[in-house]
């Protein structure tokens, strides 16, 4: 008795896997919550720091006065002009900005990928998928889309927040072209981070705590490079650099993720 099987080509596998992930992303509340949070965060930051701007706090022991300084310009929340004085400062403007989105993206990736293992869906998924390359590619693409959406949501939120807070939109040391290049660079940078977070998630599988610790740890190590390679006055060079880095990291780390899935137990 002979049994014929339909050819399961790479094209077919990647199409179905992307279909699964895109459908999952758009049908689960997680994606909308993350994008919503990304939209609200800059509004809250800009409005609250504006309210606190110039507030003087006094240390009761030393009597030392500290003046709270908020954002002076909307674009400060997007990035600093490289070479400018904010470049290496550690005040609120350098910490609470669009780059913190790369930490929020780690939460999304760890939850999204970890859900496959925690829910037990991995059993259904990997029973019909002996090759893991389609899984890694699809997850990288999906997490990139989600991360890019969060970066864009933060950018939109910054514009809204800036308008509400009444902050100036005037660009100093950069122009509209630079801002666009800066945002594109940051979006492309998501590829590097999402592939790292994916690796952490497939390594940790159903242990969300472990994937978050690894993702946060690696994210912290790489956090300082973000403002350096994606300043507000970015050019096409920054975009190309991020594109290249993103492609190399996704490819290289993707191989690592695939190797983990190939060598380890999936349930």
């Amino acid at each position: 008795m002979s049994v014929n099987f339909e050819k399961n080509t790479f094209k077919k596998r990647i199409k179905s896997m992307l279909g699964v992930d895109i459908r999952r992303m758009f049908t689960s509340p997680l994606f909308y919550i993350m994008v919503g949070v990304s939209l609200v965060i800059p509004i809250l930051i800009l409005v609250m720091t504006k309210m606190m701007d110039g507030t003087v706090s006094v240390d009761p022991q030393t009597g030392k006065e500290t003046v709270m300084e908020g954002f002076k310009n909307v674009w400060q929340i997007i990035g600093a002009v490289s070479g400018g004085k904010q470049g290496m400062s550690m005040d609120i403007t350098s910490m609470c900005n669009i780059n913190m989105m790369f930490f929020l993206i780690s939460i999304f990736v760890c939850l999204f990928v970890g859900d496959d293992f925690r829910s037990g869906y991995a059993k259904n998924l990997f029973t019909v998928r002996s090759k893991k390359d389609d899984y890694v590619i699809s997850k990288t693409v999906t997490c990139f889309i989600a991360g890019a959406s969060m970066i864009i949501a933060f950018f939109i939120g910054s514009m809204i927040g800036g308008a509400i807070a009444g902050l100036p939109f005037a660009l100093e040391g950069a122009n509209v072209y630079n801002v666009i290049m800066c945002i594109i660079s940051k979006v492309l940078l998501v590829g590097i981070f999402s592939s790292i977070y994916l690796l952490a998630s497939v390594f940790a599988k159903q242990r969300l705590w472990l994937s978050l610790i690894i993702a946060f740890g690696v994210g912290m190590l790489m956090f300082m490079m973000i403002p350096i390679i994606t300043p507000l006055n970015s050019t096409i060079i920054n975009v190309l650099l991020c594109l290249l880095g993103s492609a190399l990291f996704s490819f290289g780390i993707g191989f690592g993720s695939k190797a983990i899935l190939d060598k380890s137990s999936l349930v």
């Binding site: 099987f5 699964v20 459908r23 037990g120 019909v128 999936l266």
Partner: protein, 301 residues
């Protein structure tokens, strides 16, 4: 051709050997009842077949191909332990995701079809996490049935099902097997398994101890005459004078005589010994008793 062919399969978890040189042959189109105690290695074997865990040594072939062959694997349906569904999504969306995973052309129609099969069409909009245990089990079965799989691996699929659910499950599996698909099913509810299985494999301590067809089981299960009298203890003493194998059943209601020619012969013999028989019937031991005897190392015949 065999749907599953396993030779000398071993799987170690550190020091513990979960599967120890297992041989298993599941013919195409069969309903293979995979039986064993808890921790005997059933689920581990099933997970290996599904490619979810790696084995230490041996070989696993599906339809004469390597078990990792993507073409074969895309034609498999699985329900191992609990159904793998996203709790926050609706039943419909969970099934649609699996239909997408299987590259099914007309997803809506396929999902609707399996929901009707498992009598869950009314609960399609319910969130999976709000479903009862029985409903979840049915959803898991529906998920495994999507895309008319050629090989179905079901681990305890009737757990949590009510009597009607078990009947539906029986009908579904029989229909699938008729269409040429192969089903590997493990269950502790042997009475139900006996109604559908065409082949059996009994595993113990990671080793296959018996593999047989339903016909072979039938031959291995002896018939007996069961009688009920007012005083079974006295009756047993009298019967043991003539018959060599007289046993009491588990409920201690009937006496079983395995080497009698006919029920009439026993009734006459007891009547001659002034014992009135209240009830007499011929029966044969089922899979459950065969299995229990086998596990207890008792001689079955």
């Amino acid at each position: 051709m065999n749907a599953i062919e396993i030779r000398n399969l071993c799987k170690n978890f550190g020091e513990k050997q979960a599967v120890a040189g297992l041989d298993m042959t599941v013919p195409v189109g069969s309903i293979y009842g995979f039986i064993g105690e808890n921790g005997s290695g059933k689920s581990t074997t099933e997970k290996i077949i599904c490619g979810l865990i790696h084995y230490t040594s041996g070989s696993v072939k599906l339809y004469d191909r390597d078990y990792k062959d993507p073409d074969v694997r895309s034609s498999m349906g699985v329900l191992i332990e609990a159904p793998g569904c996203f709790p926050g999504l609706s039943v419909w969306n969970n099934l649609m995701i699996q239909a997408t995973n299987l590259s099914i052309e007309n997803k809506e129609a396929a999902v609707r079809e399996v929901l009707i099969k498992v009598r869950m069409e009314g609960a399609a909009g319910n969130k999976y996490k709000n479903c009862s245990l029985g409903m979840k089990q049915r959803i898991g079965i529906a998920m495994a049935l999507l895309g008319n799989p050629k090989l179905l691996v079901l681990d305890e699929p009737i757990n949590g099902l009510d009597a009607d659910g078990m009947r539906i499950m029986r009908e579904i599996l029989t229909d699938i097997a008729k269409s040429g698909s192969t089903i590997l099913i493990s269950s502790h509810i042997l009475g139900e398994l006996e109604k559908i299985a065409t082949h059996y494999g009994i595993i113990r301590n990671g080793k296959m101890i018996v593999e047989m067809t339903a016909e072979e089981l039938e031959k291995n299960c002896p018939t007996f005459v069961a009688i009920q009298t007012k005083d079974n203890i006295k009756t047993r003493e009298i019967l043991q004078k003539k018959y060599s194998k007289v046993l009491e059943d588990e409920q201690k209601e009937y006496l079983r005589i395995y080497d009698a020619e006919s029920p009439e012969e026993i009734v006459k013999y007891l009547y001659d010994n002034n014992i009135i028989v209240n009830e007499v019937k011929t029966d044969k031991i089922g899979l459950e008793e065969y299995y229990i005897n086998l596990m207890a190392n008792k001689e079955v015949k």
